[in-house]
Amino acid sequence: MNRVTKRTWLMGLFVLILVGGMTFFMMDYWANAGQWISAPGSPHVNNRSNIGVGTVTDRSGTVFLDIGAERTYSPSAATRKSTLHWVGDRQGKISAGAVSHYAGAMVGFDPVNGIYNAGEAGGITTLTLSERVQNTALEALAGRKGTVAVYNYKTGEILCAVTAPTFDPDDVPDIEGDTSGTYEGVYLNRFLQSAYVPGSIFKVVTTAAALECVPGIQDESFRCTGKMEYGEGENTATVTCEHVHGTLSLKSALANSCNCAFAQIAERVGKDNMVKYVKQFQVVSPLSFDGVTTVKGKYDLTGAGTVSFAWSCIGQHTDLINPARFMTFMGAIAGGGVAVEPYVVSQVTCGEEVTYEAETTVTEQVMSPETARILKGYMRSNVKNVYGDWNFNGLNVCAKTGTSQLGGEEISNAMFAGFVEDEQYPLAFICVVENAGYGATVGVPIMSKVLATCTSVMNNG
């Protein structure tokens, strides 16, 4: 008997596994239950992939979506269209990740009571978006595809982030049957989920890298003959400009967006430094906020020769940027080398209780304050001397345009990125209009309207 009785411990081992497993689960529960509750398909709070309870409003309390049994959108068709990608559609094809992320807070979840206290109605999620700016931006896009976004680089609030094409959730068009291409990629929130060829707006990155690592680059001069040839005979490759720019400084090279000068600047910076600074500036890293993560950009010099490297510094080659991330980079320049991360959900309340309140988060120093200061001056000069200050009604706008070539017969994307240097209106922005031509002629007028609306909204509280 001794022998048998001493061996009962083996069964005890199974008991230990069971107890250990349950303990592990309890820790998991305590740490992660809040995420489980908000995950797609969570039956009490979500309707498949979109949130199924509560109300979503803009920054001033205008209701975008009242999610009862009916899922009532804004009474304005324009608002329904301009905010669709943030509140989601009825079919769940457009998932409103940022709003769903706070589903738990919306129903007042806590690990002790679960969602018992939620009641029927659910809470209120207040977005940082402004209905007026959203509508202005969508209208300014005038049926073209693309995205327009503005955020406060001191607080992180996204005032505007529209994406087009879009549709009215109360009057859903025949998207599947459409052959005209009008609704191509309509389910994408381009601000978050698209990566674009940056074109010349990427020259800001190259300029920043040059300022960081090439001593005295500000005093150097670069010659543009309209064309730079690399290699010999049949293997000739060129970097070209639309005009002959003559002799340029770094500052005027940026203002004139001179490709030939940037090919020379690229050589001064070198491949290794470019890769290093692109990484340091986080220009192609994914950006995460409010439970959504943007797509990655791309800066890849694998197998790139001298000319390809030169093009990569001009924002062509295989370069890709995500609008949300690039806007944040603009915020970093405006913020003296430190970016405030953007967010779109400012507050969630459940009943009387505030269950979530956004906090401003700041990235690490991505470039030296000195580089940021010089770059600001350059970008300010771009607007003042090239794009025209009269566009912006007295705002100190610092920016860079771009016209990103897509290859083949496709019309270039118009790009425009920058920020307002103003204590009262600390706004960074990006504007991408697909297949629309020149950044200066397309992007500038759009931002002119959008920024004007932004300042108006900010003045009125």
């Binding site: 008997m1 001794n2 022998r3 048998v4 009785t5 001493k6 061996r7 009962t8 411990w9 083996l10 069964m11 005890g12 199974f14 008991v15 596994i17 069971l18 107890v19 497993g21 349950m22 592990f24 689960f25 309890m26 998991d28 529960y29 239950a33 809040g34 489980w36 509750i37 995950a39 797609p40 398909g41 969570s42 039956p43 009490h44 709070v45 498949r48 979840f109 806590d110 690990p111 002790v112 009571n113 679960g114 969602i115 018992y116």
Partner: protein, 569 residues
């Protein structure tokens, strides 16, 4: 129509305030109930009892503290005689229910002599001269008086009033639960819900009355079991109320099986006979399933008879436990080890054909426990090899089929609408319920497949709270800990092995069920004993419980132990 209106009014008036009360009251009552049931199981005194003395030639006396004792030179023997002519495991001294003793040769080199005659097995009387390896000794059993005295010293099982109080608590809980469902459910589901909970309530009191009649007062293990059945009924009431009656019938059958196996275990000689029956039945159930079974998800473990779906492998588990249990004198014989190994090989082969990973794993774990408990010096190696073979069959033959279902393990959130659907829904609903639940009938998990069986833990957690769900696991853990305490003082290794293996099966099933639901372990779809909706599994679980009960040697505790000085058979 009028009734419906009144019902709706009452529901809205009383419903919410009662719900607020219920979500706190239910766990409080349950915690109180389980504390009262579990503490006595874990705290009873268990000092060794002395059943006889061995008078040695030098005048010393060696106490005999078990009913089955191995005598030999080895240190691990119950009676160690360190003499070179004594074999390592020489003989087994066995006491019987009537107080008589036998000695059996355990394959010794020089044999066992009683009154000068070499014997294989022989009765031993107080005057008998026993000679082992040339060492002579006498057995002196304790007197009738001493035995009665010893019985008085033994920890008494709970008084009848304690058990009544526990049952009252459980009844209160059951009434609360029914009220909770009445205030939130639909009219058509109410009759089966009342019948289901009412049936359990009736069963528990009838069984208690029966115990009182046969002078048994310990009802903790049974109360815990009824608590689990009640929680299972709570899951059924919300998921498939129409199946409440079916589950109730299974419960009644389960209790009958529990009593039958308990009765058969009461007398070791009878138990050994039943064992042969169980051995045949164990294989029989599996063979019948293989021949006439239906395949679900690649595993052939269902038998459909006249519209009823059965899982005979659940009953096979009970038979396997029976087959694995053995008395000490038999454990020491090579023949029995070989028999058991061959039996296990047959079972393993049948399981390989069935392709049911969960069941195979449970059999494997119970085999491990049995093998380890039985392995004396004789069969260790053989048993180890068989264990390896068993594991190999599971890994090579059964697991690959199950692998596709395991691919989602720890990755359920990557595919929440397909492969990870059941489990992510389960976790979301557990989170929704919090510690105290959303209230009966107010969960959303009921729409999900197997909400009342494979993921019943989550269903209970959502509606009754995580505390209640954890209490169900605590019940199984408590039963296992109770066995860990009783098994060492059991009268026979037959009971020790039986109880240990049975508890092992209960624990492993709970482990696979709950931790599978929670994505801590791969999801195997094994039923939670006594709780999951499933008739055969219910019957099987009560069968296993009989083994747990048989190891309970507290005075007047178990009907599976005969009362001294009473003829109550």
């Amino acid at each position: 129509m009028e009734q419906l209106n009144i019902l709706a009014q009452v529901q809205s008036l009383v419903g919410d305030s009662f719900l607020g009360f219920l979500r706190i009251a239910a766990p409080v009552v349950a915690v109180l109930l389980l504390l009262r049931c579990i503490l006595p199981l874990l705290t009873f005194r268990r000092e060794p009892e002395i059943w006889a003395w061995l008078n040695m030639p030098d005048g010393s006396q060696i106490p005999i503290t078990h009913w089955e004792n191995v005598i030999g030179r080895s240190k691990s023997c119950d009676v160690t005689i360190d003499f070179s002519t004594v074999s390592r495991n020489h003989a087994v001294l066995t006491r019987y229910d009537d107080g008589s003793w036998t000695i059996t040769d355990a394959g010794s080199k020089d044999g066992v002599f009683v009154n000068g005659k070499k014997v294989q097995i022989s009765a031993v009387h107080p005057r008998s001269r026993i000679s082992i390896g040339g060492v002579e000794m006498h057995l002196q059993p304790i007197s009738e008086k001493q035995e009665i005295k010893q019985a008085k010293l033994r920890t008494k099982a709970a008084s009848g009033w304690d058990s009544v109080a526990n049952l009252m608590l459980l009844s209160v809980l059951q009434v609360f639960m029914v009220l909770g469902f009445l205030l939130s459910g639909t009219e058509e589901s109410m009759i089966p819900i009342i019948q289901g909970f009412g049936g359990i309530l009736l069963c528990q009191w009838l069984l208690y009355v029966f115990y009182a009649i046969i002078h048994r007062s310990s009802f903790e293990v049974e109360t815990i079991a009824f608590f689990l059945c009640t929680m299972g009924m709570a899951a059924i009431a919300t998921v498939k109320p129409t199946e409440a009656i079916k589950q109730l019938i299974a419960l009644v059958l389960g209790i009958l099986v529990f009593l039958l196996i308990g009765w058969s275990l009461r007398d070791l000689e009878r138990a050994k006979k039943f064992r042969y029956l169980a051995v045949v039945a164990g294989v029989g159930f599996l063979v019948v399933t293989l021949l006439f079974g239906t395949e679900y998800y690649g595993a052939k473990n269902w038998l459909i008879i006249g519209g009823m779906s059965l899982q005979p492998s659940e009953l096979s588990k009970v038979c396997f436990v029976f087959a694995g249990a053995s008395t000490m004198d038999r454990i020491m014989q090579k023949r029995n080890i070989i028999m058991f190994i061959s039996y296990s090989v047959v079972i393993c082969g049948l399981l390989a054909l069935m392709n049911d990973f969960g069941t195979a794993l449970i059999f494997f774990c119970s085999f491990l426990i049995i093998a380890y408990l039985r392995s004396g010096s004789v069969g260790t190696v053989a048993l180890a090899i068989t264990a390896l073979g068993f594991a190999g069959v599971i890994a090579l033959r059964i697991a690959p089929h199950a692998l596709s279902r395991f691919a989602t393990w720890r990755h359920i959130w990557e595919d929440p609408f397909n492969a990870g659907y059941q489990q992510t829904q389960a976790l979301m609903c557990i989170a929704s319920g919090g510690l105290f639940g959303l209230g009966p009938g107010r969960g959303m998990l009921q729409r999900i497949f197997a909400a009342d069986s494979d993921i019943a833990f989550a269903t209970i957690s959502e509606e009754w709270g995580l505390i209640m769900a954890l209490l169900t696991v605590l019940c199984i853990v408590a039963l296992a800990c109770f066995v860990l305490r009783t098994a060492p003082v059991a009268r026979s290794s037959f009971y020790s092995i039986g109880a240990c293996t049975a508890a092992g099966v209960l624990v492993v099933q709970t482990m696979l069920n709950c931790l599978g639901t929670l994505d801590v372990l791969p999801f195997t779809g094994v039923p939670f004993p006594l709780l999951s909706n499933g008739g055969t599994s219910m019957i099987g679980a009560w069968g296993l419980l009989a083994f747990v009960k048989a190891a309970d040697t507290r005075q007047n505790a178990s009907f599976a132990v005969r009362l001294k000085g009473r003829d109550d058979a």
